[in-house]
Amino acid sequence: MNKKLNILIVAILFLSAQHVFGQEWTVPADKENVTNPSEYNLANVKKGKDIYQLNCKSCHGDAGKNNALPLVPVPPDVVSEKMQANTEGGLFYKITAGKGGMPQFETTLSEDDRWRLVNYIMNYNSKNEPVLVDAPPVKAKLLASVNEADKIVEIFAEYENKGEFVKLSGAPIIISAKKAFGNIELGKVLSDENGRAEFAIPENVIGDEEGFVNIVVALEENFEVVPVILDKAKVGKLKEVPKLIRGGEILWSTNENIQPWLLLTYLGAVGAAWLAIGYVVFQILKIRRYSKE
């Protein structure tokens, strides 16, 4: 009986392990060979990449960098054989349905977007001519300063061309503000033909209690650049720090800021009761005194 049970448990464990770790994720035959209705071209692949960055990157990592999250099973890299072994229909099906740790995107991404995502993955397939080529990172330099009066960040960008730094024009520059646990993007600006750019800081940016904001200026990913951090730029709204614990207003106050009415009622009632008790005890002592009369 017990042995049988053990075998059963082992069998179940084995099966469930298969289920979780198994490489098999079978796609129904009719879904396998569906053709991609969206055309394989640069525009679609680019859009697919944007969708990928937003929805997939957090687990699958950057294409070709093998920096996926260490989950079980590990989410395969876009470039990997495992990923590329899928047919387009298969990829579409898997994105749509999800399984285990892989979300279902049926409701969160439109059908078109899902096919564009497939196009992006197909960019790395050996069958296809890659339309989107990640250029090798270019070394770049950034200079930035803040005009506190006009609340403007002035930026000058250069990149390395044949060993020399020349002005970088037409490059998107990302301006963000430091927050407690990360940087919040304030906006993007393109550098002009002189490699210069100006970014007007939005009115609603919240700084610290004195309005200081730590601004980070950076370039997009394909540049190798040290982001410029503009510490303590007085360009933000004052951070309001509303007082949370107000004395005497709320019942969860501590004794230091207890409600006066509560304290008075309590002490008054207790004081009166114990005064009366004290008086009675005094009377009892008087009985003793009277016994001598």
């Binding site: 999250l69 979300p103 646990f181 919040i184 919240i206 509303p242």
Partner: protein
């Protein structure tokens, strides 16, 4: 390996290795909370996500955890200028329970004790079931601190409801008062009690746990002091948690590290708070489980409400 040396070593390290400032290995060590084995020059540490890592001993420096009274004092005051909030995106949760595991590791909890508990919910008969991570809601009108007879649980200026287990008398009135069942009690000697014997109590992590006292989620106040996201937020693989300072209107996702505007996030997604009709004013906001990333696969049991 001698038990004794290990204990001494932990003592030197302070209650929470998470507070250790280590040159080089900071990123590993900051998420470690338990010393597993000490052999020669290397040391095995258990990270809060449950992984064993081996690091060189020379990389460790004792934590500069302040003395108990200093710790209690700053623990009661909170982190100045902050107003912590959490946003939980129910459409992203797939019941992976990494938050629960890492939390139990961080706060030295027994397997049945949950500061963070992923519940399987169904609001009414015909509505869709969903997973709901539930922790202390850090109410702005907390029913629990109202009833505490000794001021052992209290509200801090940064919004966190904390517990001082050097003072708690174990009356469990706060458990009765909490409508979210967020509080757990140490009914027995806590996990690994003898291992942590003599370790200075850290009020902001509520470790070591103490027999006969209360414990609950505290937004990993010790990690916040080190400018790190709470354990559960960092551990989530699915981007469920957002955490940040409401005063600067920014929350950061623990998985994608993306930072967005708190007010925009809760407005755009029609966020709600749990049982707002009770007037507890929670600091944990839920984004509705609409367009869920993962299908619900659990079973709704009937032990409800």
């Amino acid at each position: 390996m001698e038990n004794n040396t290990r204990r001494n070593f932990i003592k030197k390290l302070g209650a929470s290795v998470g507070a250790a400032s280590v040159v080089g290995g900071a990123s590993i060590l900051s998420s470690c909370n338990r010393v597993e084995t000490v052999t020669g020059d290397t040391i095995q540490l258990l990270t809060s996500s449950g992984e064993l890592v081996e690091v060189d001993r020379s990389m460790l420096k004792p934590a500069d955890l302040p003395s108990l009274s200093e710790n209690q004092k700053r623990g009661r005051e909170g982190i100045p200028g902050k107003s912590w909030v959490m946003v939980i995106d129910l459409s992203k949760c797939r019941n992976a329970r990494e938050c629960m595991k890492s939390c139990q590791n961080h706060h030295q909890l027994r397997p049945e004790q949950h500061h963070m508990n992923v519940l399987q919910m169904q609001d009414s008969e015909h509505t869709a079931p969903y997973y709901m991570p539930k922790n202390c809601q850090h109410c702005d009108n907390p029913p629990c601190t109202k009833v505490c007879p000794v001021n052992a649980t209290f509200k801090r200026e940064d919004g966190i409801v904390l517990i001082d287990n050097e003072r708690c008398i174990g009356c469990r009135f706060c458990v009765a008062a909490c409508p979210y069942s967020a509080r757990v009690f140490n009914w027995f000697e806590p996990k690994d009690a003898e291992k942590y014997e003599g370790v200075t109590y850290n009020i902001e992590a509520n470790v070591p746990q103490k027999k006969g006292t209360i414990s609950k989620c505290l937004f990993s106040a010790d990690r916040l002091r080190d400018e790190q996201l709470p354990t559960c937020v960092s551990a989530c693989p699915n981007g469920v948690y957002w955490f940040g300072d409401r005063n600067e209107d920014a929350v950061t996702n623990g998985t994608t590290k993306e930072t967005v505007s708190f007010s925009k996030l809760v407005k755009d997604n029609a966020a709600y708070t749990l049982m707002e009709e009770l007037g507890t004013k929670p600091r944990v906001f839920y984004l509705p489980p609409k367009d869920r990333a993962f299908p619900f696969q659990g079973e709704i049991d009937d032990h409800h409400a």
